[in-house]
């Protein structure tokens, strides 16, 4: 594996297939950690519409993933972030990390999803069943989660 595999796409992704792609035929992987973020149906939500900044978004994801790759001894890393209109229950984002050691895989996975929340140019608009629309606001708790990693925690 030459390095992280980054994708921004409208299409769904398949956790099983992506995980198999990282581990198939290899005998040096001790742990494979994953996180899948899904669209919840809070407060009568009908859909999430995800917008991104083509070009910059991919660059930001490459940069975050390269940082994880440098910080932990990973043997594989896949990040897929969907854009477009997603209904409740749909998967939005996948982070998958493989390493010889479980702690590296688990930590890199948590690091990546925390940074994705705060440092990748995506914006979510909520569409509700009653016709209302609302742009999701950034959360202070997400900034705090990402900042943990900067302080070397």
């Amino acid at each position: 594996m030459a390095g992280p595999d980054i994708r921004v796409q409208e299409a769904p992704f398949d956790l099983g297939a992506e995980s198999a792609a990282l581990s198939q035929g290899r005998t040096d992987i001790g742990g494979l950690a994953s996180f899948v973020g899904l669209c919840r149906a809070d407060d009568g939500l009908a859909a999430l519409v995800l917008e991104h900044y083509p070009g910059m978004t991919e660059r930001a994801l490459e940069k975050i993933a390269a940082e994880a790759w440098a910080r932990w001894p990973l043997t594989g890393c896949t990040v897929i972030h969907r854009v477009g209109r997603l209904v409740p229950g749909a998967p939005i984002v996948l982070v998958l990390t493989a390493s010889a050691h479980r702690a590296a895989a688990l930590e890199a996975c948590a690091f990546l999803i925390d940074w994705l929340k705060t440092s990748a140019p995506f914006w979510k608009r909520e569409e509700f069943a009653d016709g209302r629309e609302r742009w999701v606001e950034a959360k202070a708790s997400d900034d705090a989660a990402a900042a943990r990693w900067a302080s070397g925690a």
Binding site: E51, Y53, I92, W123
Partner: protein, 83 residues
Amino acid sequence: MKLLYFAWVRQKVGLAEEEIGLPEDVRDVAGLVAFLATRSPGHAAAFADPRQIRAAVNQDFAKPDQAVAAGDEVAFFPPVTGG
């Protein structure tokens, strides 16, 4: 200068992107925000509270004091909410 707008900044401005001639006295991101706020009622609404706005210059996040030049691609958007 190529300008891009995302999320509610795009909706309020009423444009996803535009080309502008950069006034000589606009030297940084903060100055560009102040200038853009005068272009139209939509721009004024979008840039009414600069604290709500984030920027990128040539596809890197940029602070208000970052320098801008005529050939740059500059984007304005709300704080990001991916993941």
